[in-house]
Symmetry: C2
Subunit: 344 residues, 2 copies
């Protein structure tokens, strides 16, 4: 069989943020796809939609009227998954453990424009969004243990309204996946005396092959352990526990790399590229110094604008599996032109 | 706010098999769905399809011809995610750990009939499938550490060929999710001196409210910690480490409960109910006695044959979230008629 070849032989890679492994089967990219395809989404939305629940001035499902906002606008989710109940019921039964939880869910409309997704906003619009994230984190982290800021983009990805928007779910508990990252980062600091993600960012800068784009303050890579075909990890290059730690200058450079990264995504398959993205940083009040702020982008597409990766049978029961290597994915994103495909 | 009410107040429940928690937001079932819907799948397939790669006598993508099989037929996957490379490359780098892996991937056609899914097969056909699972486990567990038997059913669920079939991916490593169940079951045995899933099965029999169906040997429940709206867990009622431990009698009763459970699924939304399912049992050669055989069913549908649950933003970044409670889901499955909706 000869020597091991990362681009051809099945292998597993470990995610140091979770301790989970991912099965990489690069030779499998050759298989033809005969399964379900998604509808291609047309990209001629109008700037304002009368029937949209999120456009300025319109009425929502519950009858409330939206203000005539411009720029980012935040409001409480009408169908909140988390509520401030103040209830404290709890059971430690080893087979049926439970706990009542409190929290809040908000919606962030990115701007008044129904048609402008993140990569299409003017960079000042992205800066306003970054500022809103920081303000919301600042406000909600005073009251809640964990503030999860995220965006589901694209109908294929469970987004139920095309008006560009994100969400914030803040809770009085540390969610499962976050607790895992917490443990791994604390453990790494203890073993190595340095920050897991800062060490990692510098390794990626040195090696270069998984880098998608970068600027003075920020680095985006397809991580060594990526689960989703074109998953990326966005990290600051300096020690930064959370969003509150960002200077004005670094907020500006964050807006720049966000625009650059999401533009590459759109260009890859010439479509409004769907993804779920969100921020992870030190939990409110944390002083251990092990956390480094970062954003995960988890996009579902695999081969084209209409063929996605299904995380099903083997992935749900045994281990996440991917076909193309992270290095191949990074090269494809890196090679995209520096201009949005819809711009003339 | 009054007393805690499980059917109305947000809470988390713990999965004792993985240690993960799930956020339950029952009040959220009231939200209207305005997002993506799936195409309804017509159910008039023919018994044989000329263009199907899996029907008897047909040619596959790679040019090989299928035998004129009847009943279950097993062959090596033409696009195997796992291969027997014999390579042993490995790195323990804390940030970029990897290991070369070996294994095999097989396909199990359930029968020669292109149109008969598991709930539509005659019970003798389901028995033949159970026997095939047991034989495959027996053969492959001699050579591999973990043998993952599973089925992806339905195009919405990543199944790329409608001819009813499952898969087996066997590997020289313990996959991530399986290693977690291994650890939790071993830990429970050490703490309590009994089997986690046997104790759990008896608790569920006593309480009844999460039971979907049962017979003398088997029990199917929507588990306390279900992630997917209509997720179920199928367990034997007697100590049983793996598929090889099943007597002929218990294989027959397994075929019966499989047919009953999948028929309830089809009846729920009057469609060929998509799911991913698979078997977990003691790894080959295990003698610790902590493992209890079980099958997980993970179906994506939430509200109807065309509206599924999206495990996206919050779920990918923070914690899995569900709307209806496991008790509500179990009641709906329990209340289905005892006859397949397509039978007259
Ligand atoms: O092997 P299939 O059926 O072509 O592929 C399907 O099942 C595999 C195993 O769960 C997944 O990795 C694929 O994403 C899915 O489309
Ligand atoms: O809140 P939305 O956008 O209606 O809903 C979407 O995001 C939520 C949070 O990730 C998920 O729980 C839902 O399944 C998804 O459809």
């Amino acid at each position: 069989m000869g020597a091991f070849n990362r681009e051809d032989n099945p292998h597993r890679r470990r995610n140091p943020l979770t301790g989970d492994w991912v099965l990489v089967s690069p030779h499998r990219s050759k298989r033809p796809w005969q399964g379900q395809t998604e509808e291609a989404v047309p990209s001629e939305a109008s700037t304002y939609e009368e029937s949209c629940y999120l456009c300025p001035g319109n009425r929502r499902v519950n009858g409330e009227q939206n203000p005539n906002y411009t720029g980012p606008w935040v409001f409480d989710n009408d169908f909140a998954a988390l509520q401030d109940t103040g209830l404290t019921e709890r059971s430690d039964d080893p087979l049926m453990a439970m706990q009542a939880v409190s929290g809040v869910s908000r919606v962030i409309c990115y701007s008044e424009r129904h048609d402008l997704t993140l990569p299409q906003l003017p960079v000042s619009g992205v800066q306003a969004l970054v500022d809103t994230w920081c303000e919301q984190w600042d406000e909600l982290s005073r009251q809640y243990r964990w503030v999860q800021i995220f965006e589901n983009k694209g109908a294929i990805n469970g987004c139920s309204n095309p008006h560009p928007h994100g969400q914030i779910w803040a809770s009085d508990f540390m969610p499962t996946l976050v607790a895992r990252e917490d443990e791994q980062q604390a453990d790494y600091l203890q073993r190595h005396g340095s920050s897991l993600l800062l060490d990692y960012a510098h390794r990626e800068l040195e090696q270069g092959e998984r880098v998608v784009c970068q600027n003075d303050d920020w680095l985006a890579v397809v991580p060594w352990w990526a689960s989703w075909p074109f998953e990326t990890l966005l990290m600051p290059l300096a020690p930064t526990p959370d969003l509150a730690a960002l200077s004005n200058e670094r907020r500006v450079s964050l807006a720049g790399i966000l625009q650059n990264l999401t533009m590459r995504y759109d260009n890859l398959f010439k479509c409004s590229f769907p993804y779920s993205m969100g921020w992870h940083g030190a939990p409110a009040g944390d002083t251990r110094g092990c956390w480094q702020l970062h954003a995960h982008f988890y996009p579902p597409l695999l081969r084209s604008a209409t063929v996605k990766k299904f995380m099903v049978g083997y992935e749900m029961l045994a281990e996440v599996q991917r076909d193309l290597t992270p290095e191949q994915a990074a090269a494809r994103l890196r090679d995209q032109p520096g201009k949005h495909y819809l711009e003339s």
